[in-house]
Amino acid sequence: MIKYVIRRLMMLFPVMVGVIFLVFFIISLTPGDVATIILGDGATEERIKDLREELGLDDPLIVQYGNYMIDLVQGDMGKSYSTGLSVAGEIKQRFPNTFKLTITAIFLSVLISIPIGVISATRQYSIFDNIGMIVALIGISMPSFWTGLILIILFSLKLGWFPSGGMKGIMSLILPAFTLAIASTASITRTTRSSMLEVIRQDYITTAKAKGVSRRSVINKHALKNALIPAVTVIGLEFGVLLGGAVLTETVFSWPGIGRLMVESIQRKDTPMVLGCVIVFALSFSIVNLIIDILYAFIDPRIKSNYS
């Protein structure tokens, strides 16, 4: 088991190095001179030249990347072009807010989707199943920023139950978390249902029934654990979607997380900040997938024994 975790961790490194390089490269494509952007159009040639030197902008890209990596392992992500503050510091301050939002959303999703998926599968083609699946498909088809606006109109502006934005207390968390959770809920529900349908026609389910196991425990004990294996994979993938969705949801609800920070930074052409945000997003996504893979091994003994 430990071996498995270590192996998975080792796989994380090359991917992250690649990710950072890729993002670094993409962002370097930004047109316009960084020094001019920072100093403004009125700056003298002299000052621009000094700044270019200071930031290492005249070095080849690969050298710039190397320097960035060296700083990064020391926890330094550079300084914001627009405020001059430390990128790492800013992100450290904002990250917990995004974490709070996404974790709440994924918990909501799992809590809602697994039972609905299971019930739908065990009553395939019933009214519950049919309505559930239509709602799920609509859920997948709704853009989160629109859902957010509609929820604000209904529950905040019309009913006044929740604040329409900002981050003040638990009440302000509910609408954005729910908005963010909708699409994931829908898609985890669909996966749970279809893997459950797949599992309940397996031979070992018939074996269990032939032993005299009750319907209920055939589902809860024999089928569910097997059906969870694909569901867990999707939960991991959905977390990526959720992180992407956080950018939009945070914008709609003025939630002070790194999603909104990223959008603001893009508008200000603050590349170090954008770079930092994307790296943190990708790293979170990779770590979640690592956790998912470990969880996997707990559910599926076939994986566990391969590495014990």
């Binding site: 026609r201 397996q202 031979d203 070992y204 018939t206 074996t207 269990a208 029934k209 032939a210 032993k211 005299g212 196991v213 009750s214 319907r215 004990k221 024999h222 654990k225 097997n226 559910i299 599926d300 003994p301 076939r302 024994s305």
Partner: protein
């Protein structure tokens, strides 16, 4: 005679699918005496598994539908029982062993727990006691008790089938239905598993339905034999009657298509053609288009049962008018 364990009357089952209706079982009667073994023989698609699942009332619904039939197990009319009572019977009074041991065990549960589960359900034992009994069962089928904490993927095919047997026998059922228990196994393992089943059957004094398409297996373990074709039992009798007084052309065909140990030079003669389209069974005898003896009325009229002894009957147009008729090639 010690009395009957299982009596099936006029069982008919169909599957309603998008592509049409499969008439899988079309009005069959079976009875199994206490302590005896009935061989249910027929090629793939004959309806053997469907028959077996009907006895446990485990036909998948949808698409399966039991159209008619009475099933009496140990004096209980199963068709009328509520599901909760049926759960007590499955794995208790009657157990089943499935064809493919590779898929018959739950991959995420320990084998010991899978055996103990049946014991807990039917014998109201504590978890500890049930696990203890599971260990004994595992040892009885020839697997070291220490392996009960392992998962199915750590076992070979033959050992998995032993585990399945342990599960099936854990509550001393009166009837064991074995659905091609050795088909998926290596030849060498087949003999071992078969031997084990025979031994345990004697020891526990149960009745058994052995589903197979292997006449060698039949000769080895069965007392009575029912030959199934396209959802009908076309010939039934004692082992002796079926082997030495073969009446149905299909039965004869089965014998001619296997190598004969006594006469190795004898030519193998597989039955020509394929089984009739299960979506569209012919109006007359289902075997008609493959039968070397077919007559005009075979295509239009369903043959009736003809009895040769209280146990031995055949469904074929060759006999009602001429009971002395002898098939050409068989052993008769």
């Amino acid at each position: 005679m010690k009395g009957t364990v299982l009596k099936v009357e006029n069982l008919a089952v169909r599957y309603v699918t998008e592509d049409g209706i499969v008439q899988a079982v079309n009005g069959i009667d079976i009875s199994v005496e206490k302590g005896s073994t009935l061989g249910l023989v027929g090629e793939t698609g004959a309806g053997k598994t469907t028959t077996a699942l009907s006895v446990l009332r485990l036909i998948p619904d949808p698409p399966g539908e039991v159209v008619s039939g009475k099933i009496e197990l140990d004096g209980k009319a199963l068709m009328e029982l509520p599901e909760s009572k049926m759960e007590k019977i499955r794995g208790g009074l009657v157990s089943m062993i499935f064809q493919d041991p590779m898929t018959a065990l739950n991959p995420v549960l320990k084998v010991g727990d899978q055996i103990a589960e049946a014991i807990k359900i039917h014998q109201q034992l504590s978890q500890d006691k049930a696990l203890q009994k599971a260990r004994e069962m595992l040892e009885m089928v020839g697997i070291p008790g220490a392996r009960m904490n392992e998962y199915p993927h750590q076992f070979s095919g033959g050992m998995k089938q032993r585990v399945v047997i342990a599960i099936a026998l854990s509550c001393s059922p009166k009837l064991l239905i074995a659905d091609e228990p050795t088909t998926a196994l290596d030849v060498t393992i087949q003999a071992q598993v078969l031997e084990l089943m025979k031994e345990l059957k004697e020891k526990m004094d149960m009745a058994m339905i052995m589903i197979t398409h292997d006449l060698g297996v039949v000769a080895e373990v069965c007392d009575n034999v029912a030959i199934m074709y396209a959802g009908r039992i076309v010939e039934q009798g004692t082992l002796e009657e079926i082997f030495n007084n073969t009446k149905h052309p299909y039965t004869e065909g089965l014998f001619l298509s296997i190598p004969n140990i006594d006469d190795r030079k004898a030519e193998l003669k597989p039955i020509r053609g394929l089984m009739s389209d299960p979506f569209n069974l012919p109006p007359g005898c289902s075997f008609c288009d493959r039968c070397d003896y077919a007559m005009d009325k075979c295509a239009t009229e369903k043959p009736e049962k003809v009895h040769f002894s209280p146990d031995h009957f055949v469904e074929c147009h060759l006999y009602p008018d001429n009971k002395e008729f002898q098939l050409k090639g068989g052993k008769g």
